[in-house]
Structures are given as C-alpha cells and as structure tokens.
Point group: C2
Chain length 343, copies 2
DNA sequence: TTGAAAGCGATACCAT
DNA sequence: ATGGTATCGCTTTCAA
C-alpha cells in the first residue's frame, strides 16, 4: 500500500514494466485493462505502478490516442459577468456533473476579449477533445472559428453569428416570453409592460420579441418597454421609468426578463405602495433560486439549464465519437411556467 | 491571405514542410523563429503553414518540450462559493492578466469534492506546467498531494494542512484585523464587537484571532463575537445578534470580517436608528468595490489581491523554470487601511 | 498471453 | 542554413 514519492522526474511506463519484469506492451495492457493479461502479470504490473507512483504522461497518451480525455467549457464573457450571473454557476455545476459521469475532465477557459487568440491557439493545439460554449453576447465570432477549426463543439444558446454551422442547444426564449404574456392576459391584465434585458444579448433580444409578438397578436399595446441589464438594481430603475412614463399609472402587468429584475421591480412597486399582484401582476424569468424567495413568491419561467446542459454534453460526446463529422444539430427546450403568487 | 479549411484531420508539420519544399527541421525552425533560416525558406514555410491552416499539435509539442504552455488555477470550493464570492472573480481577473503577459494559457479547474481524484489524475498527467491554488477551506489535502506530485505550484492563502511543503503567498489577516481594532480604539471606542467569518476558513479564523489579540493587548473585552459567512445577509443577522445580546447596547465599534457583512450590519444599525459612525464605528475588510459605495463610505482594509496574484505567478513561473526544485517560499502581504467615513 | 517494433507529431542534435 | 535522425512516452499491430 506504499506509494513511493519519486524525486524529480515522474516514472514512465518503461520503468514500471522493468520493475514488473514484463514488456512495455504488457504493462500498458495490464494498466488499461482492455486486453487479456495473465493474472500474474496483471498483479505484478499493478504493484509496480503503485510502488513507483506511476501515472501515464498525458502528452504521450493523447499523441497516440488522438484524445485527451478533457473538454473545455468556454465562456466568452467578461469575468465580472461570469461571476455575477447565476446562470453560469448553475450551468457549470451541471456540466461538471455531466462530464464526471462520462469520465471527462472539465477545463474552463475564460475568453476575455484579449485572450481570444491565445485560447484559439490552445484549442487548435488539440489540448481538449471538444468544447461547450455558453454564449450570450453577439460580438464574438467563436462559432465560425470553432467550425473552421473542426473541433467538436456545442453551443448552449445560439450564437449571433454562424449559428447554422455549429450544433446548438437552446431554450425558446421568445416562446417563453409569449407564454408569460399569455398568463398575464388570461389573468385579466390589459396594460402589460416589460422590463427587457440588454439588446445585445440573445436572452434579452428574444424575450423582448416574444413579449411584443404576443401582445400584438392579442391586439394590445406593446410600447411600454424599459431596458435593464438583468440585475436587481436595473430592475428597480426600469420599473420606475415605466411607472413615470406617460400613462405609466395604467400598467397592470409586467413581464421582467429576469427574476432579479422582477425582484428589483417589486421593490420599486412596494416603495410606491403598489400591491402585487392586486394592482400589478408580474412574471419573471429564470427560476434559479430567487423567485421562490421573493415576497410574494414570484411566478416565473424556469430556464431549463440542467436539461440543456445534459443534452449539450450528450451531443458533444457524440460529436467527439464521430470525429466532429456529424451535421450540426439543433435542440430547443421550452421553459416551463412556474405558477406562484404574483399573477 | 487565404486560410484553407482542412477537412477532417489537422495538418502536420510534415505536410507544411513538403508543401514548402523543405525539411521538417527547417519548417520547425522557421515557425519557431529561434534559429537562423534563410529568408526564402522562411517565407515558403510561413505561406505553406497559412495555406494549410497549420497549428502545432499540442500533445506532440509538450511531449518533446516537457512543457505545455498552460497553468491551472485550482479552486477547491463548491461552485456556489466560487461564483458568489467576489474574491475569486477578482483573483481570476488578475491571474488571467498576469499569465497573458507571460504567454501562458489559463486553465481553470473547479475541484468539487467528488472531482478531486480526477483532477489529480489530470495534474499528474502533466497536462499543465504548474498550478495556482486559491484555498479557503480547511478540509482538503491538496497541498500534500501537489507536493507529492512534484508539480510546481503556489498557494494563494495558506492551506490548513501541509502549508510548510508548498510555496505560499498570503496576506496577514490577523495583523490587518488588529490594525482595524487599533483604529477603532484610537477613535475612542472601547466596546468593540466583531462579526467574524466562518471558523473553517482561514480568513475567518485569522481575522477573528487578530481582533481578539489586539483587544486583549489593550485590556478590553473580547467576548462580543457573532459569526457570519461573509455575505451581506449574514452580516445583518450577526449584527442583530450582537445588539440583542447582554450589554449589546454598549457596543460602540464593530469590526466586520468582510465589507459585505459590514454592509449588512450597517443596514441593521440603520433600521434601529443607530448612527454610523456617531453611535457605532465600523471597519470592514476587502475593499473590493462595495466599501466605497456604502452609505457612509466604509473604512476598510484592502485585500491586496492583485499584489498576491502577481507574486504568485512570479513564484510559479520561477518554480516551473527550476523544475519545481526550489525550496517552498512564503510571501506575506500586509493589507492597507483605507480610511473612509465609518470610523 | 506476450514482446518487438512501428508509429503518433513535434523538437533538437549532429553532420553537412 | 539545411536535412537526417534520435527522442519524448505511450498504444497498438504483428508475430511468435
């Protein structure tokens, strides 16, 4: 049970083989277990490996296997965003779990603006077998680059550019927003505003579009829009803006593009003595923890992150197995309405 | 200027050499530029490489160079913590910058409890040249493992176990806390409480110790302690706890082990009509953005994250250059007091 | 079942 | 300045 600490250089398979009294080939077979080896040799090799504290050299291994056993998760966002948006925490958690099941190592690459070239170099060097990209912004050409590169990849959330060239797992932001509006209308609301997200983010753009489309279809006004940046504070500000605009007092329903902004809005409404849902009904988006803790608990749309991630990993593993030759697939999940007490 | 997309397999140096009409050796030299190559060959190789969209295979390259050009940042924390604690965002930002300057790729490894073995395997496989560990909790044996492994590494924040076996860059939490107490005492405060961090985190433990030590030295009471978890909410709760305890009304100074907790405490004080700093003076810790925005702006201790990171990267690069053979060094930075308006 | 040997794709030494 | 070749550490035929 001893594990000798080798001073300086890591031990090689050759040394293990020598110590075990067998050939490199047999040692390799014994350690990888996908080929028959006599029980005796097997034991000798395993013992030797333990004694030397042997671990295969990754570079050598990937060189011959054409596989590294690790996949990258690329977050093309500023690190402030990455660390403030609960979406990423949740997503990474799910990815880590999914990859663990498949015995793959997760390698996180933060793609700051300036870092992009360096990161691309890393990817082209095939230091990973594939990549999952969680893309939110419109300005990066990552999809094209990855597609050119031929590295198996899956996007979570459609990229603005080159979406047709890569596999994508997405959620139906527009449809979900429409669903939110539907609920408000069914609840008897007629003057429905929205606190939208940033225009340069898919989630912001599509949710706004869905809100507008559904209102238009119902023949209701779709001109009460204020933009936030998904944060609580921006929700408060946007809500005030809506209320203070012409006819803001008529608003009886709000669709907020994130739960955090809904929370901010509820604070503003509360401060003005406007009751939720009696005076104004409100629907949020995400259901990543904050919705159930608002006062009253927030009706919202559940962002199906876990499902998206699971599917993304499935697709990626498939793409890796096929050597990235499969046609780019596209899977869309529909967020589920979670009814609580704000409608 | 064209870059041909190679279908399927990435091109090799051999192909580049052939296309350029030179040998592999010359092609390699031309591309790496550390050796003399005729202008003609140089141009031919560069053109060929561009045409084929060539990038060196990382595995092959690291196999011979014994170097990958990437270093890992290991965060042995739950991902909730990583993504909620601004410390990590700030630290990673600094690391990314520091590594970029040295032309190293940052690879982030999230070491969930269950992931540890897999991660260790990855590290032993030498997929990275070294590692920076930002350790906060007391339960992992990472320092021992990395030390056994012989992988160059630097810890930011001393690990609980095995700290003497690895290079450490730390900040003087206890000294800084003492400094905070000093300021409060100098400001005439005599009944000084603390809102401490979790006992199982270095920062929590050491700051509490420093607070206590300084009070003891001054002959003042050191029994008013409430624990939080560094979050704003916990600061509010802890503050209420302090105030409601026996003699809580006498408190005229508070040292909070994080700015967020200080902020929470200030909310509670405000809610009770207790004025800051007139009735109660308060000193926070971190100065990572929130301190300047509290009302009134918070006097605090600046956590020297950037300096620590810069030094850590320096030490790591040094250790990598020496093949990890240097003696474990230890560098400690002293947080600086930032005077604002709460004392 | 086992071992010898041929690569995997780069770099670097040694001649030329 | 350039080309041939050994080498990095491993997996995987191919014979035996």
């Amino acid at each position: 049970m001893t594990q000798v600490v080798v001073n300086g250089h890591a031990s090689t398979l050759d040394e293990v083989a020598r110590l075990a009294g067998v050939s490199k080939a047999t040692a390799s077979r014994a350690l990888n277990g996908r080929s028959k080896v006599s029980a005796k040799a097997q034991a000798a090799v395993v013992d030797a490996a333990r004694e030397l504290g042997y671990t295969p050299n990754g570079a050598a291994r990937s060189l011959v296997m054409q596989r590294t056993g690790s996949v990258a998760v690329i977050l093309p966002e500023s690190d402030e965003r990455v660390f403030s948006d609960p979406f990423f925490a949740r997503m990474l958690h799910a990815v880590a779990r999914s990859l663990r099941e498949r015995d793959l190592q997760l390698v996180l690459l933060l793609a700051q603006p300036g870092d992009e070239d360096r990161m691309l170099l890393y990817l082209r060097g095939r230091y990973v077998d594939g990549a999952i990209v969680a893309s939110h912004h419109r300005d990066d050409r990552l999809a094209e680059h990855l597609s050119d590169l031929g590295l198996p990849c899956v996007f979570i959330g459609a990229p603005w550019i080159g979406a047709e060239r890569v596999p994508v797992v997405d959620s139906d932001n527009a449809g979900a927003a429409a669903q939110a509006v539907r609920v408000l209308i069914d609840g008897g609301r007629r003057t429905i505003a929205t606190i939208a997200g940033p225009r340069d983010m898919r989630a912001g753009h599509d949710r706004l579009a869905g809100w507008r489309q559904e209102l238009d279809a119902a023949g209701l006004d779709s001109n009460r829009v204020a933009h936030g940046d998904f944060t609580e504070h921006s929700g408060t500000t946007a809500c005030a803006e809506l209320l203070d605009a012409d006819g803001g007092g008529d608003i009886d329903g709000i669709f907020a593009a994130s739960d955090l902004m809904a929370l901010g809005a509820m604070r503003e409404l509360g401060a003005r003595g406007i009751r939720v849902p009696d005076d104004v009904a409100i629907v949020g988006y995400d259901d990543l923890g904050v919705a159930e803790r608002t006062q009253p608990p927030l009706t919202t749309l559940r962002n199906p992150i876990d499902q998206m991630v699971t599917e993304a990993v499935r697709l990626l593993v498939e793409a890796i197995a096929q050597g990235g030759r499969g046609a780019p697939r596209r899977v869309v999940f529909v967020p589920e309405l979670v009814r609580r007490d704000t409608v």
